[in-house]
Amino acid sequence: MIRLFFATDIHGSEVCWRKFLNAGAFYRATVLILGGDMTGKALIPIVLDRGRWEVVFRDDRHVLETEEEVRAMEDRIAARGYYAVRVSREEMTALQGDAARVEALFAETMQRTLERWLDLAEEKLRGQHLRCFVCPGNDDRFEVDELIGRSRVVELAEGRVIDLGGVEMISTGWSNPTPWQTYRECPEEDLRTRIEQMARGLRAPQQSVFNLHCPPYRSQLDEAPALDQDLRPLYGGQAVRPVGSTAVRDAIEQYQPVLSLHGHIHEARGAARLGRTLALNPGSSYETGVLQGALVEVDPGGVRSYMLVAG
């Protein structure tokens, strides 16, 4: 029997990444899977101005006098899932008027952070009898795959059929279109083809695990805040709408894997049954430093037990 721990959507939170690496020992899991969207969404410049550092973090303006204060702020920013960068006042001014420059800085910072994360993984996981998989999600740039591909302890799951030890797993971090036009999103038909290609490579689809970042449409695991045209939540954030993928739903209903693992919609933590398939979305509270996840015991006969945890 495989005891796997699945988490997703940590969006650059250093605390959550560290917890993820420790989850194997903590939950006695032999397989760790990160479902996608591991990179951060925001860049926080710490601006050097006349010998002092200034930063606006979470609506508050901070003036930092010492190196210790700057480092502490960088840690706070990283814990929250954002990237801290030290820049001069002139660089800041240049960034504010140049979207391409910001994009390049994002890419550079993201890469540097990810390399550090993978070094940390090497340090923590080497010698442990567990396998660790990461499947970049729709919010992750394509360079992420290459970086993970270089790791000796973290395996890239995207587009592959992986034998977890009697149970096979297919993975993709691609999603159906979102209002944000992210890196890995495509029309439902393309997503269907992408899943089909992997599913055809499975020995026994009904004994497999589907690790698909986007949740199935109308499964409760895909309920996101309803937004207006300006991306403003409607009705004070109370109203929700299903935004999952029909291709993912169809694939699950067609192949009936024992387990399907999803993320993407942070608010929609839950479990659902689609035929004989148990579908899980542990949700995400990455910004609070809480690692939400799913601990599952599974074998070819099915899911023996599962638990949605918040560590």
């Binding site: 420790n22 979470r58 609506d59 991306l231 403003r232 009705y235 839950g270 509270s285 918040a310």
Partner: protein, 542 residues
């Protein structure tokens, strides 16, 4: 890129939404602290504290509930999207305590709110509308056990419909009801503003005679009957603080809920989210308090403060002290909106205003099961409840499991409320049990900065301090004192109707039931290899 002027940059990424409308959040809080359905209902119990005055009591309650708002805003901003009291308490106090407090406060006790909603529907909708349509017997029937039971079933049908159509559909209906209800209330206030007391007396006498066959000066008879019954309130201008404070445990029946169902979305912002969520609840509370004050002033001016209290005293005497109660010339609950419409001698106008006022009920009624459904789902996902409790029908997308767990017991409780003598008093625990749940969350919030220091430090609430202490903890201590005062009064003072052995046993049964469910879940899940204690255990960071 969005945010660059604020000093940060965001990239293309899912979920980066703009700030939601604070006004929408206000509407939600405002409708939860419902001035008409809950407010006018509980204000009518004012004569039970004869020396107290509703106006200072409402203002003081507003001040004290503001601290509750501060506490909940802090929790919401620190743990957004978490799912409310159950999850907050789970993360800070542990799963067992959280389950017991949350399921009693947000699930079991809401079965008991259904007949309360049913009763309010009877006295604020069916009774006044039927009376206005010239059907006094039918209007009175809705005050009988069968009438209240039927009203409760109507409530259940509506609430089930709201859950079936989902939050977006309900929010849309609620917003329409908000505007329609406000128009109705504005008309009522306007009538009370422009009408004089002699005009009101004349209108009251006219309608009492025409609709209910009364005779003579019914207004004066109402005052005399109440004096004879032994009720002599102080004049409106006298507002003694001490006795008025004793009204607070009553007024929390409507003013304690600005945090009902509040959630927060938004990941990049910080303090502005805290302020936004605080503002929604704060203004929801204080606009209601302000409406209450205006209402008291208008009632005193046009209806006469003594008359308002006397009419209510007489009515409740027929329910709680039927042997000694005076005979009612108008045998209906003295619904202020109905009495105000009588100032215009036109049936169609009266009907339209009453229908508009009923929107306060229809827009609000969905709130009864909203939080229950969330708690049931969260407990099922935590494996404390069976998986089917969070099941959703594939075709209609209705949470059938949660609905069954809410509706079936509510039908039984509504039946007992209507037909079982004495059972109705147990529903007076409705506020008390939720206050205990709040106490759990407020206590969790008070120790939050120390118990989950890292999580607290990263939250927007951490920037607010009072004399070096976290604001959430200072507000928490004040709120705990406030809630304990209410609990103490409810448990020790007969005025509030719950300090009896039967009520105590009943509440203990509810808490024991929750505890038993949790213990069974622990044992069953343990045999399945699931350790429920691990669900909220923190993974080490280093």
């Amino acid at each position: 890129m969005a945010g660059e002027t604020a000093g940060y940059f965001v990239r293309r990424a899912t979920g980066l939404v703009r700030a939601w409308s604070g006004f929408d959040a206000f509407i939600y809080a405002f409708f939860s602290v419902n001035f008409v359905t809950l407010g006018m209902y509980i204000m009518s119990f004012g004569p039970f504290v004869p020396k107290g005055h509703l106006l200072p009591a409402a203002v003081i309650t507003g001040v004290l509930v503001t601290f509750l708002v501060i506490v909940y805003a802090g929790l919401i901003a620190a743990m957004p999207r978490a799912g409310g009291d159950y999850v907050w308490q789970s993360r800070i106090l542990g799963g067992g305590i959280a389950f017991v407090l949350a399921v009693t406060g947000w699930w079991f006790i809401l079965w008991h709110w259904v007949p309360i909603y049913g009763n309010i529907l009877s006295i604020q909708f069916f009774g006044p509308i039927l009376a206005t349509l010239g059907r006094p017997a039918a209007a009175q029937w809705f005050g009988t056990p069968s009438g209240i039971f039927v009203s409760s079933l109507v409530v259940l049908a509506f609430v089930s419909y709201y859950i079936a159509i989902g939050m977006e559909g309900y929010a849309r209906i609620q917003k329409a009801c908000f505007w329609g209800g406000l128009v109705g209330l504005a008309v009522v206030f306007l009538l009370l503003l422009v009408g004089s007391q002699p005009q009101f007396q004349q209108a009251f006498n006219r309608e009492a005679v025409r609709l209910f066959g009364a005779s003579g000066d019914v207004y004066a008879q109402t005052l005399e009957a109440s004096t004879k019954y032994g009720f002599t309130p102080p004049p409106f201008g006298a507002m003694p603080l001490g006795p008025s404070i004793l009204l607070i445990p009553m007024l929390v029946f409507y003013l304690l809920w600005p945090n009902w169902g509040a959630t927060l979305y938004g990941e990049v912002r910080g303090a502005s989210d805290y302020r936004r969520v605080f503002s929604g609840m704060f203004w929801g509370l204080w606009v209601t308090v302000a409406l209450s004050v205006v209402f008291f002033l208008l009632v005193a001016k046009t209806m006469g403060w003594h008359f308002y209290l006397a009419a209510n005293s007489n009515y409740w005497a027929t329910i709680y002290d039927p042997k000694n109660a005076p005979t009612l010339a108008v045998p209906l609950w003295p619904y202020p909106a109905l009495l105000a419409t009588w100032l215009v001698n036109n049936r169609a106008f009266q009907l339209i205003v009453l229908l508009l006022m009923s929107l306060w009920f229809w827009g609000w009624s969905g709130t009864v099961f909203l939080s229950s459904t969330r708690v049931i789902f969260a407990a099922a996902f935590d494996r404390v409840l069976p998986e089917w409790a969070a099941s959703v029908s594939p075709k209609r997308h209705v949470p059938t499991g949660a609905l069954v767990l809410m509706v079936v017991p509510s039908v039984v409780v509504s039946y007992l409320y209507a037909y079982q003598p004495g059972f109705a008093t147990l529903t007076l625990d409705a506020t008390l049990v939720i206050a205990v749940t709040y106490l759990g969350s407020v206590f969790a919030a008070t120790i939050f900065p120390w118990r989950r220091s890292q999580l607290y430090a990263s939250s927007p609430a951490a920037r607010y301090k009072v004399a070096g202490l976290p604001l959430i903890s200072v507000a928490g201590v004040i709120t705990i004192a406030f809630l304990l005062f209410n609990l103490w009064k409810w448990v020790t003072d007969a005025t509030y109707g719950v300090n009896n052995r039967q009520s105590g046993y009943y509440m203990l049964i509810l808490y024991a039931l929750a505890l038993v469910i949790y213990i069974i879940a622990r044992v069953v899940r343990s045999r399945q290899g699931i350790d429920l204690a691990r669900i909220h255990a923190q993974i080490p960071v280093e």
